[in-house]
Amino acid sequence: MIVTKEKPLEEILGFLSPYKKILVVGCDGCTTPPRGLREAKTYATLIEMSRKPKNKNFECKATTVSKQCDNYDCATTLTPQIENVDAILSFACGVGVQTLVDVFPEIPIYPGQDTIFLGSQDRDNAAMYEKCISCGDCILGETGGICPRTRCPKGLLNGPCAGHMNEKCEVDREKDCAWVLIYKRMKDAGQLDKFREFRKPRNYQISTAPQQIVRSSSE
């Protein structure tokens, strides 16, 4: 899932200050924690509480879309609700916000959140952990299923560096040293020879942004 963090209300109210009819759009897709209808209504109410006393004609409504990253979904769900709306506050990740910009180019679209990382949810610890940086060159098969590009802050491919202590990372002693994890896992799996291999430098050309893929019609 894409993990996001709400922006402070002050910042949101800051960029919404010129507008009078706002639509807050949630997203039922993969954002974690979920930012669907409940989230949109919560913020719509907070925004009205801040603005309405000053201008009686101010209106802030809430709605949601299955996936804000799908332009068809956005168009069909939101077009009936868009009349007279002069700004949209989106609770999708950065992808959803920009998709709305493509679908409604005449309406200013603002992000209600910061998009932080791609990660997994650990229910027991009530935490989300970053797991993948979309490098386009997956080496999980060579590193025991643990990604050193993501989980080693230095992105080492021939790690660990000499900074690990009690199997924790030099950069954040609360976090595991990814390379020690990789070593232990590969050793247990009898893959030390693979661990010993020299790994060449990363090819950054693969991940030059912005990337795109065009799907063939036969898919």
């Binding site: 209300l9 039922d28 209808l37 409940r38 907070l46 509480m49 801040s50």
Partner: protein
């Protein structure tokens, strides 16, 4: 103020029944919820063996039987079980119950009585259908904390008054909030019916219909996030298919935690629906400008867990002379952040959430979940300088008047706050 059932989550209101705005509490000198009168006590110790909370014990030396009020949950099971009526309770004792029935009969001419417990009201559509099948459509509705509280003496006296049918609607036995109350109440009913058969009464004079409010998921709204499945303390929910959560009705206890948590607002609990609560808040808020023009007293909304306080919940819900609107919840776990925001937005000066005391939640630590939710919501409200207008307090019915005290002190604190920000709440 009588409201249509479908729009009201308020206690005891039914389309056919009539809940009187009547105090069902006695003014007794003591402030304690329940007490043993030693001069009547026969030392039979039925009460101590029946108490689900082991709150009753006999003094080793004197043999005197005493209730440890700190352990007592004021369920009233001991009160109804005592063969010599030696246990006194300030809530719902036999005299006040009988007076209530008398008045209702005078007012309505109905001769059927429906006893619900707090957990089974408001009455669900399903239950109303069952009542109809039993030939009960016009009835006097009487709500007790637990059906196990109604002593045989009351049942017989009610019949003596002219009631010809009494239907008890206790919670399903495994879900009785007082552990044994439902079972005891049901047995008492059946035993008393057996007695009545001998006396020539019809065999359906006393009937029991079990009920329990279950949460229901709207599959068209469900986004399959799995939050409800993870959070349900009864493990009653699972993701049955991708994107669809499913509730196992055999395990659901109707606490409403999933309802308050669902990010897609896809789960509802009958009687406590999102829309119906919003509507009640909106209706009341339309009265606020008038109230404020009359006095400086703050207008507040109290979300009250129905197990945390008994007598206040008998009073007419509008509390109109006190500027307090009381909304009941099946458990404080159901308190919904959206409703709190709506209330503050629509003119209420403050919102107070009342939950059971720390270790006494009847529904698996729902009060702890409520506390966490209030704490998160306060952080959000702090961004609009409104965090002091929301509080949570913890009470129990064991001492009379706790709710009143909490409401009063909350209102005092609200009064001393600066006028609710009108101009750009976020501006510093």
């Amino acid at each position: 103020m009588r409201e249509e059932r479908d729009s009201s989550p308020l206690r005891g209101e039914t389309v056919r029944g009539e809940q009187m705005a009547e105090h069902l509490t006695e003014q007794i000198e003591t402030e304690i919820g329940v007490k043993i009168n030693d001069s009547y006590c026969g030392r039979c110790t039925i009460c101590s063996s029946i108490c689900p909370y082991e709150a009753i014990s006999s003094d080793e030396k004197t043999g005197e039987v005493n209730i440890d009020i700190e352990k007592c949950q004021v369920c009233g099971i001991c009160f109804s079980a005592c063969p010599v009526s030696a246990i006194e309770t300030i809530y719902y004792n036999v005299d006040s119950l009988i007076n209530y029935v008398k008045k209702a009969m005078r007012k309505t001419d109905f001769t059927k009585l429906v006893l619900t417990c707090q957990g089974t009201s408001p009455l669900q559509r399903e239950t109303m259908d069952k009542l109809k099948k039993h030939g009960v459509s016009d009835f006097i509705s009487l709500r007790l904390p637990c059906v196990g509280r109604a002593p045989t003496e009351f049942l017989l006296k009610a019949l003596a008054l002219g009631i010809n049918k009494i239907v008890a609607i206790p919670c399903e036995e495994d879900y009785c909030r007082f552990e044994k109350g439902s079972m005891i109440g049901t047995r008492r009913f059946l035993l008393t019916q057996a007695l009545l058969n001998q006396l020539g009464f019809s065999s359906d004079t006393l009937t029991v219909i079990r009920s329990l409010n279950k949460a229901i998921i709207n599959v068209y709204r469900c986004i399959g996030c799995g939050d409800c499945a993870y959070i349900c303390p009864y493990n009653a929910i699972e993701l049955a298919a991708p994107g669809v959560a499913q509730i196992n009705p055999d395990k659901c206890s109707g606490c409403g935690l999933c309802v308050a948590v669902c990010p897609a607002l896809a789960i509802e609990l009958e009687g406590f629906e999102h829309e119906s609560i919003s509507q009640s808040i909106s209706n009341y808020s339309s009265l606020i400008p008038e109230k404020k023009s009359k006095s400086k007293t703050p207008v507040i909304l109290v979300f009250c867990c129905q197990w945390s306080e008994f007598p206040a919940l008998d009073k007419n819900q509008s509390f109109s002379n006190e500027n307090v609107m009381l909304l009941e919840l099946p458990c404080s776990a159901r308190v919904d952040s959206l409703h709190i925001l709506e209330a503050l937005h629509s003119g209420f000066d403050g919102v107070l959430v009342v939950a059971c005391e720390k270790s006494e939640c009847k529904l698996e630590k729902g009060n702890e979940k409520a506390e966490e939710r209030i704490s998160s919501l306060k952080k959000l409200l702090a961004q609009v300088n409104l965090e002091n207008r929301l509080e949570i307090c913890f009470t129990s019915p064991r001492y009379m008047g706790e709710l009143d005290k909490n409401i009063k002190s909350f209102m005092e604190r609200i009064s001393s706050l600066p006028e609710k920000p009108h101009i750009g709440a976020f501006e510093k």
